[in-house]
């Protein structure tokens, strides 16, 4: 086993220019490793910076200091120091991310929302749609909803579309921000099973999960983010 992800002394703060330039420290001295086939759960109270850390790994928040090293297919990339083009390429073939809420695009069907990352990574549309359908079925999204844009779906349905989209491509690193927050027990179990499959495939998983039962079921280790907040 080797570390797919290594976060080293990462620091993030926000300077609020519109509030007189006040500087809000988010996290500092963030250090942890995630190995292939392992799930690390980030824990800590709301506002302690768990989502910020995930966003730094995904590249949507910039790092003030430190490095976020990703090792994959004989290449090593420091996300904290990468050009936008490199980060886009990583998102296409290395990092999958399930955000807390689905950012629904008007007029794009649920099936295509899920299939899109596969198409972007080079699959033909029909294959991608077929696989998207299988994933939606596993997550109990009825077939009659597949041609409909998810904007009108319930919170739980939107979240499952979001999960399907993030879980469908096989990427070495999977980031999960509260994937089960709005799901019922049955669908929680499906997600737990999907995460177990990812781990068997050698995927490194970083998850934020408040539900203790789900966390116990998926996490090999926990990292307490409160320690990084104290240092910030």
């Amino acid at each position: 086993m080797f570390a797919i992800l290594e976060v080293i002394e990462a620091r993030k703060s926000f300077t609020m220019h519109l509030q007189g330039g006040v500087c809000l420290p988010a996290v500092a001295g963030v250090n942890f490793l995630v190995h292939a086939g392992e799930c690390v759960a980030l824990i800590g109270p709301s506002g302690s910076g768990k989502s910020s850390i995930l966003k730094m790994i995904f590249g949507s928040y910039r790092c003030d200091e430190g490095s976020i090293v990703l090792r994959h297919a004989d290449t090593t990339t420091d996300i904290a120091a990468s050009e936008p083009r490199r980060i886009l390429a990583l998102r296409r073939d290395t990092i999958a991310y399930v955000s807390q809420f689905l950012r629904a695009v008007p007029r794009v069907s649920a099936l295509d929302v899920v299939a899109e990352p596969l198409v972007a990574s080079g699959f033909d549309r029909e294959t991608a749609r077929a696989r998207a359908g299988i994933m939606l079925q596993r997550l109990n999204i009825p077939e009659r909803l597949w041609p409909i844009p998810p904007a009108t779906f319930s919170g739980g349905e939107q979240q499952r579309v979001n999960i399907a989209r993030g879980f469908l491509p096989v990427m070495p690193l999977l980031l999960l921000d509260e994937p089960t927050a709005s799901l019922d027990a049955g669908n929680c179990d499906v997600v737990v099973a999907l995460i177990a499959e990812k781990k068997r495939q050698g995927v490194a998983v970083v998850a934020i999960v408040h539900d203790a039962d789900v966390r116990d079921a998926i996490a090999d280790r926990v990292v307490d983010v409160a320690a990084f907040a104290a240092a910030a």
Partner: protein
């Protein structure tokens, strides 16, 4: 499929500046755009967005700096040093330019079919049936009823005119499209439809796009990267979600925080 891996940038701005007398149009703008990449230029009126777009598309001559474009033969050329025939080739085939006002990008007195077909004839298409076939196909793609092919754009609504302008631009399979506030001046519902259409076409055709917009939602939906301009200068650049979710500069924070949630 979108390819973002090509080694040489399709378009590169190097230290571009434009002065209107003592007034700064834009100052020292540099960036690279690769095949299949969508770059949004955002900023308020007068920030230099449109000046930049005109410099990039060789419609204005820079006061300093240059624009380098990689031609289809793979050779990178300084736009200012292209011959007239080469420039014409770029405008007719390799580039598209979508104006905010479709009456600037269309010929209002000729039929929709002719508007689309004209670009094909300019690159040597002669067979009437094939030209009409291609025009019909493009009307379908931009969701204009084929029955309207012989009507002049004067009889079209604003949204339809804008979609026709897009069809006219894309029919020659350009590699790079410039867009100047393409959704400006349209009703919100019409805007959403146009945006979705653009998003699909850009993705399917693997187009490189430079889109000028003051609408951050447009930038969020269409672009990979953002350049924020103020007072003629680039003040912040980055991935679209970096700039919109983690804005660093005071002005960018103001822009992002000024959007009313629907």
């Amino acid at each position: 499929m979108t390819t973002l891996n090509c080694e040489r940038p399709l378009l590169a701005a190097e230290g571009l500046s434009k002065m209107y007398g003592r007034i700064i149009g834009c100052r020292d703008v540099s960036f690279e755009l690769y095949e299949g990449e969508v770059l949004a230029v955002v900023g308020e009126s007068g920030s230099g967005k449109s000046t930049l777009l005109q410099l990039l598309s060789a419609q204005l001559e820079p006061s300093a700096g240059r624009v380098v474009y990689t031609m289809r033969d793979g050779v990178a050329r300084d736009l200012a040093k292209l011959g007239e025939a080469e420039q014409r080739f770029l405008f007719r085939t390799d580039w598209g330019y979508v104006h905010q006002d479709p009456t600037l990008g269309l010929r209002m007195a000729v039929s929709a079919g002719a508007n689309v077909g004209e670009r094909l004839m300019a690159v040597g298409w002669r067979h009437y049936g094939r030209i009409r076939g291609a025009a019909t196909e493009w009307l379908d793609r931009v969701e204009i009823d084929r029955d309207r092919i012989d009507d002049v754009p004067r009889t079209y609504s604003g949204g339809m005119r804008q979609r026709l302008q897009i069809a006219r631009n894309l029919v020659t399979r350009p590699r790079l499209v410039f867009m100047d506030e393409p959704t400006g001046g349209l009703d919100v519902s019409v805007q959403a439809r146009l945006l979705d259409l653009l998003r699909g076409l850009v993705f399917d055709l693997g187009l490189a796009v430079v889109i000028v917009t003051h609408d951050l939602a447009v930038a969020r939906l269409l672009s990979h990267r953002i350049i924020v301009m103020k007072g003629g200068e680039v003040i912040e650049t980055g991935l679209t979600d970096q700039v919109l979710d983690d804005p660093r500069e005071a002005y960018t924070q103001l822009l992002v925080s000024s959007v009313l949630p629907a």
